[in-house]
Amino acid sequence: MTDRAAATFVARRLGVLGAVLAKPSGAFGVGIVALHLVLALFGPLFVPYDYAQQNVDTMMLAPSAEHWFGTDRLGRDVFTRTVLGGREAIVISTLATVIAMAWGGFLGIFLALVGGRIDEIIMRGVDAMLSLPWVLTVMIFVTALGTSSSVLVPVLGFSYGLAVIRIARSAALDFVARDFILAAQARGERRWTIVIRELLPNVRDALSVEAAMQWSWMILGFSSLSFLGFGVAPPTPDWGLMISDSRGLMAVAPWTVLWPMAALSTLVIGINLAADAFAKVLGVDRTRKVPGQ
């Protein structure tokens, strides 16, 4: 890449971000996500209490000057736990999204390019796997392999990657029949060179938006798993776990569930708003989306 090309590339990216931030919903979304990332990154530096510190004297206190968000049934500070509660979810879902996008994206583009028998057989398999609710696919793996994060990351990455295959394949199909692909084939380029050099740059916009959506679904998925008891182990603070843990006492101490609920919801809504704004700016059509995938 020459300096000039690099400069226009950077300018284009900055232009996209600028255009996203110019939309109120985009700026709002990006702002929320950024705030969450900052809290997750620097949270441990400023939280007032130890997240695991149990205290009999401070059980289920209502929000006050000492405990801004109140305390839970073990006397732990809800503010501290809410600030730290997204770290696990963000780290695991980010890693899993990278895995899902990498294998799903490449396989999808590759299938679009080769077509024929291979494409048909693999897509049949993918469709069959997608007809199982994702929770079940993940749960089959979790039953056999356990619930540590070294299991959750590849398992989430694998099962969410299935949906990415479809998206990447259909995005790439638009370009496969074009002249520049024919030209590359005529030049005798290898298949993987065509995938990486010719097709990937063309579907990159669609895949970036898809990555953002996958990320938000992954956070939902991980939180649901830890709500069901298959995520992180206590006493690690995690929103899903906090909600399931305090659910029984909701009637007496609603703040113990409301704050983690608010934190989780704002993060996911923020990602969705940002992804929508990016999709509009990049001109990616997301309306034909199938629910739940």
């Binding site: 049949r124 398999g125 469709d127 056999a144 995938q293």
Partner: protein, 316 residues
């Protein structure tokens, strides 16, 4: 026409077989088997061997698959790992309960979704549409367990209208169950409505912008008649497939919602099965839900084939 239907049936059958093979293979490829999953991964020695002998796990995989698949076809689902009961005894009632909940949510949610979707589509970008669309996006993005918990907090704890958990036992009469499912139904319908509403809205908008609606308007056809004659039939047809997909997708949300409300259905059974590491049971549930997904989509396909002559001439 009949060939097309047979084609769809064939494709559904093939997908079902693929699911069975995949679920079996996934369990086979992973380290350990049903016995190590149940006894703990480091189990060795005589206990493990005895368990494997009892379950017939010492035989080659292909033989076991044949037997398992053969049993499935005859309705013999095998034994649950640690409940020591045939799986069909455990699953039967729960499947009925899940079907009851899904049916209530669908019967309640779909009409509302269609109505609101049409209203939003016809009043595009007006306040009604903006409010409806924002609520839809909101309830689509927040996770099921959050919205379900929130519903309990409002309707059960604050207002005290209804109980927050389902207390009926798994073999209670159907009507008793329906009576206690107000909140789970609401939680499921909320998401169902959100998805279908969005699809109906964009479909209505597409049709409203089409040439034939413009023509009808230019002819001076009254607005009411345009909506009933031209817009509704054309925009609701494509949503049949979406409804099929959404109902099928509902099955996934079921796992969480049933757990939140302690509803005795397949979803909660799946969670219990995972906690007990009961591999045969979770395999069965996966295959049941997979089949339901395929059948729902098949039904949606066939209904839209019957209603829409245009699709019959398309090659698929």
């Amino acid at each position: 026409m009949i060939r097309l239907i047979l084609q769809r049936l064939g494709a559904a059958g093939v997908t079902l077989i693929i699911i069975c093979i995949m679920v079996f293979a996934a369990v086979e490829v992973m380290p350990g088997d049903a016995c190590t999953a149940f006894l703990g991964r480091d189990a060795k020695g005589t206990i493990l061997e005895k368990c494997q002998l009892e379950r017939g796990l010492d035989r080659p995989a292909l033989e076991r698959f044949g037997e398992w698949a053969g049993g499935m076809i005859q309705g013999d689902l095998g034994m649950s790992m640690n409940r020591n009961k045939p799986i069909e005894d455990i699953v039967g009632w729960r499947l009925r309960n899940t079907v009851i909940l899904a049916a209530t949510a669908t019967l309640f949610g779909v009409p509302i979704a269609l109505l609101l979707g049409v209203i939003a589509g016809l009043r595009r970008d007006r306040p009604v549409d903006l409010i409806l669309s924002s609520i839809a996006i909101f309830s689509m993005t927040i996770p099921e367990f959050v919205s379900a918990t929130f519903l309990i907090l409002i309707f059960s704890i604050t207002l005290g209208w209804t109980s927050g958990v389902v207390t009926a036992s798994y073999n209670a009469p159907a009507l008793d169950l329906v009576a206690s499912t107000a909140l789970p139904t609401a939680a499921l319908s909320l998401i169902l409505i959100a998805h279908i509403l969005r699809m109906v809205r964009s479909s209505v908008i597409d049709v409203m912008e089409s040439d034939f609606v413009l023509m009808a308007r230019l002819k001076g056809v009254p607005f009411r008649q345009i909506v009933w004659r031209h817009v509704l039939p054309n925009s609701l047809l494509p949503t049949i497939n979406v409804i099929g997909l959404t109902i099928a997708w509902l099955l996934g949300g079921m796992v969480v919602v049933e757990t939140v409300f302690n509803y005795p259905g397949l979803g909660r059974l799946a969670v219990d099965a995972v906690s007990d590491r009961d591999l045969p049971l979770i395999q069965t549930i996966a295959i049941i839900l997979g089949s339901v997904y395929i059948l729902t989509n098949l039904a949606a396909d066939l209904v839209s084939l019957l209603l829409n002559p245009k699709l019959r001439t398309y090659r698929t």
